[in-house]
Amino acid sequence: MELYRGHILICSGTGCISSGANSIKAAFEKQLAEKDLSGEFKLIETGCHGFCEMGPIAIVYPEGTFYCRLENEDVETIVEEHLIKGRLVKEKLYNPPHSEDKIPSYKEIDFYKKQHRIALRNCGYVNPEDIDEYIVKGGYEALGKVLSEMSPSQAIEEMKKSGLRGRGGGGFPTGLKWEFASKTESDKKYMICNADEGDPGAFMDRSILEGDPHSIIEGMVIGGYATGADEGYVYIRAEYPLAINRLKTALAQAKEYGMLGENILGTGFNFELHIKEGAGAFVCGEETALMHSIEGKRGMPRPRPPFPAVKGLWGKPSNINNVETFANVPVIFEKGADWFASLGTEKSKGTKVFALTGKINNTGLAEVPMGISVREIIYDIGGGITNDKKFKAVQIGGPSGGCLPEDLIDLPVDYDSLIEAGAMMGSGGLVVMDEETCMVDLARFFLNFTQDESCGKCTPCREGTKRMLEILERIVDGKGQDGDIELLEELGETIKTTSLCGLGQTAPNPVLSTLKYFRDEYEAHIHDGRCPAGACSALAKYVIDQEKCKKCTLCTKVCPVSAIEGKPKEVHKIDPNVCTACGVCVDTCKFDAIKKG
């Protein structure tokens, strides 16, 4: 086997591909061939590196130089300067916000420094389409150890000792879940991986499947052995074509190497794994609905008990875990439950991957130890709020989660403190809001999503969220009434306690948590006809700053409804009754004198 002098890792997650990674790769191929360097440098496509904001990204090893926001023209410079002459191309290095520094090595970048990557350990580092690279990184050794040195019950004990809790949302202890499935007597059992990931803003499961599919396969086979299952399904939404392709490649390689199929690693254990592509309905991420969908039925939840561990797929005992949960499993067996349990907090062990989105400088994926504060995630890793605006709130846990205000920014991020504060871990979506976000409008956005995605089986979710959405739309439109807030609270509590499945039970959370922490914004909309954030167009009134106005009459000329009065040398005024809040005057004013108020 040839040793290459250097490796060029091109981030080829969905994020970087959409910002142009494929053409960067082609440009490297062309340049390496032209300069006769193809035998010296190896090009490798990896999964997501997490720093999506900076894509397309290429990392040059052995130096570990992190080049970001690449354009095709940059490639020739990098090849000539860095690869041939050993000089860094400074212009394409990462430049942190508020600093002139250029940071060459990716390990030195703040975004990565505070991270602790376990589930993402191989993402962006190995070639996801090469099982050999996974094996070189220690892959499938945990499986070998479990199959040849442990009994199923010992494996379950080890999982319980690790303290791993489900990373899909609920946070149920994984070892305990496995134990339930293992204790049900049956001739047939199933192990299922939930890769449905329907939360707006969350993409950790997709990234793990794209970047390190073998770790999911390994985790599932270990789980199958521990629970007594000999067959498994990965339920993945069809909107994730790259993840599906890489997983298919990985399945074929694992089969070829005997990590799947009959007599795995010569231990006599058999396990088959299939991919089931879902049509991408939010409700199909709910475990009972997911199983119905695999069976070819309409994805709708059913009451529990019986739990899947007793009666699951095709009536057989089944165990369902999320992608990120499975990604943790091989590491726990490789490094030991005690090592894993030493990370995180007392009741939330290990790490959690967060998808950072919204008004934050470094959007992307970050894996941090449990118990880290919201502030550290947003400011140290996320690089703070875009355009130096003021932080207002953070929505954690997707549509099922809640909004936390500024005075909870030092809250440690773990399952229990989040629930206590009215949010939840959920899948780990983290949407940051600044002062220009209207919290009523935000609640409306999330409720609109859950209302759209309600499967309609139970009345509280189907009708209740519809009524709540109507009220919110009315408030945002400036037609709120006395009693709306109380009605929202009553509806929310009722839906929470009477819905059939977890999705309905958590659907009112964005409304209830914004009511808890931002009640004054609702009141301003309803009673004063005012949107404090200046975001709701029906309520936003434009005003002219008397001091900044230079009396130029430009705005009076462009106003399509003649709402602005003003002659030269007279301060102008906007008539709020005529103004339609179209915003043309704001764009026209050269003196920044018109604002929403």
């Binding site: 040793l3 002098r5 052995p62 002459k85 050794e141 190497y257 005997g258």
Partner: protein, 124 residues
């Protein structure tokens, strides 16, 4: 031919055989740094590097090869540094292709410094 891995032992063997697949990405290998300033290139640093790579391949070693610019000792070019983790940094000067072969077989493979070409040593 089936690629099936039939035991944990075989898996570990395969892991060792394939180590080179990712070795340039690992930071704890022996590192060789070649001076690639204009002076270095003019003195033949590129040929030295190509020979170095061939030799590393031939001896099947895990070594990271990187480059640096001019360090000021232009008359001793081509310059080549060897950094063994924990052992400081040895700088070789006037490194011809023959000297490279010696450095690889003696220093990189067996830990013996090729004394006649050493121009300096930086302690850790």
């Amino acid at each position: 031919m089936s690629k099936k891995i039939k035991s944990l032992e075989d898996l570990r063997k395969l892991r060792q055989e394939k180590e080179k697949l990712t070795s340039p990405r690992e930071g704890d290998n022996i590192q060789v740094i070649i001076g690639m300033g204009t002076c270095g290139i003019a003195a033949g640093a590129r040929d030295v590097m190509l020979t170095l790579l061939d030799e590393i391949n031939r001896h099947n070693l895990k070594v990271n090869v990187t480059q640096t610019g001019c360090i000021g000792m232009c008359e001793k070019e081509p310059l080549l540094d060897v950094v063994v983790p924990g052992e400081g940094r040895i700088t070789y000067g006037k490194v011809t292709q023959d000297v490279v072969k010696q450095i690889v077989s003696q220093h990189l493979a067996n830990g013996q410094i090729v004394k006649q070409n050493v121009v300096g040593k930086i302690e850790e």
